[in-house]
Chain length 217, copies 4
């Protein structure tokens, strides 16, 4: 087998893992709506309206989880634009990340159910704790692929790779902060979670974009 043939086969393999992962991201992000429950037994319009408005923590959890899974999808995709081949270790670590992503609707449901209540702190801690784990899985996946540029495209710039490594390593710390905040203030913890998703969506914060990775051939 010549090198060109092998590179084509590698590209097909990584494309397939990416397509499967995309499917899981798309399904997980769409299943979040099942955590929004239709209020039952409201007699009057004003009762229904009050019940719908009273569910604001559920909408906040829905939007936060949607934004967070969306950002994870974008970053997963950007990471794979640098990865040129796969191996079984990558498959397993990618599987671990997807395990975390498919789990998200559950803590989202816990948060939606308990936010305005006494048990809200535990719910918020479980929610942020899930993101700590996912952020760790994200870093494991990246470290595994990027270590000595093991699975990266040879054209990948060392400075870009290091910038990504630094940027991703902040993720677990940020979510750990949100985890800790949950025990002080549920609202502060949730706002931090949502703010993180919005912050990471800003173009200037992304080393893969800022450093021109998208421009690398």
């Amino acid at each position: 087998m010549n090198a060109a043939h092998g590179a084509a086969a590698d590209a097909k393999e990584t494309a397939r893992i990416e397509a499967f992962s995309d499917g899981v991201f798309a399904i997980a992000i769409t299943l979040l709506v099942l955590d929004l429950k239709v209020p039952r037994g409201m007699a009057e319009g004003r009762d229904l309206l009050a019940a719908l408005v009273g569910q604001w923590p559920a909408y906040l959890a829905f939007v936060t989880s949607f934004a967070t899974i969306g950002i994870m999808w974008i970053n997963h995709h950007r990471m794979f634009t640098l990865i040129r081949r796969t191996d079984d270790g990558l498959l397993v670590l990618n599987g671990l990340l997807l395990l975390g992503v498919t789990f998200v609707p559950f803590p989202t449901g816990v948060l939606a159910e308990y936010t305005p209540r006494a048990a809200g702190r535990v719910a918020a801690a479980v929610y942020s704790g899930t993101y700590v784990a996912i952020a760790v899985f994200f870093n494991l996946l990246w470290w595994y692929a990027a270590h000595r540029k093991r699975l990266l495209r040879s054209a990948a710039d060392r400075a870009v790779v290091q910038a990504i490594t630094r940027a991703y390593s902040i993720g677990p710390l940020c979510y750990a902060l949100a985890f800790g905040l949950a025990f002080q203030s549920v609202a502060a913890s949730l706002v931090l979670n949502l703010a993180l998703a919005i912050f990471w969506a800003l173009p200037s914060q992304n080393p893969l974009v800022k450093k021109g990775m998208g421009e690398a051939p």
Copy 2:
């Protein structure tokens, strides 16, 4: 990096965003069936039949949401046949649109539950209000991409672009009308929602088709 290489990378990026969006559209449209509840505890066939027939608002909501998401999918696809490259702004605005699309099963469930009851007007207003928001997101996405043809294919005809801008800008107004109608008549509001989906499905109403966009190289 030469221009041809860059164009190929751009095409791959937009194709991927489209594929992810398609997945979300397909899942959201298929999850609508979960808003149809199997009647429980019917002793006789006639009771079951009566219970099934009595759920007509749920079927109407199912069909209307299906048709509306379907039309949004078709238009999203048509829009992307004109878009030749993406950036972070487009990603965020596309994410906002998908947030609206994944939310649809929830107001559909509210509508299915409350249509024939006193709280139906609030339910119909929530339902149409969701579409107002989605139609606004749709316009934001298009305006962002089409402003000075920022992200459009250079071959895109200015007259076609302007015709699309005009056609899309009517969307929020139509859904706002359905929103207002909800407080007068639930039936009129729902019929308008369904009529809009059917109207926009008609070939002659679509400037992308009428003006021959599909023919542009």
Copy 3:
């Protein structure tokens, strides 16, 4: 625009409709499992076993719907190997077919709930009635595409097209028979539904295969 360019764009369009339809088929077929309910509150293993075995109509409905959606997917795919371009009419008729497919989990749930009970006949009639509608939509889609070979590949053999038209036209009749049987015997109606799916899965019954359509360039 030259003809080769147009043909490529047409192929891309039909591929995209097929991909979206495939997504809807895959999701609908996987959502069927949600109609299987975990028995609650069984104290002993023998109670759980009895409860699980007692749910046999739900498994039968699950397998029958799975097989039927699977066959519809295969035939939809085969149909699209003959279709070389799309138009808005095809989009709408394909949407009508997908509406039917996404609806299937609901009558499957009704059937699973009521099969061994007095209301079973109504449930079985609703179930078969859904397939009558879907089979009609299938024929509409095919007739629309195949009329004077409007949207078909020019190389499509007229004899093959006519054989498919004949084969598909039997579908609504078969399901109408299952619909009628439901009022006489629920078991006979269900067995017919499952038998139809198995029968159509047999290679020799498929004119697209038998007549060598797969061989046509």
Copy 4:
């Protein structure tokens, strides 16, 4: 039709079956989260925490099913890298495998509900029994494709094919052991199921990798 044209059409067909199967795998693996139930009515944080921790069998079932479907997806994909064309028999056997995969969330839910209770042995037996069936379907699919290399790429190495046949044939036996263990010890049966998924994820255990199948052109 010349041979090159036919090979390209074959490749397109197998790619499409693989894409559909991937969709079903991705959806089934993501639906598993619906088996995790949000505890209702917990007044205090400590109650919620206790309720969440008390659901450990549900998490164990979730992780085990996720890992098992994930491994099945990887193996399905590897199998299809050797298959170069499809026929109706393969379609039907692949459908049988997918039927098993889409069913997995149901026994997972049964296991999650009953593991720490008296009925747990029956639940664990149903769970492992499902995997016995799926492993058998997997072997049927492989035997059908690999018999006299009927549907395999001509370049497929006979020794590799035989190694895969041997490796896959162990699957049903392992799950049958887990099935038998369920009646002795629920914990031992579950640990075996999870251990099997982890074991098969190890690169060195996979003859398709070990024997260099990935290297074959």
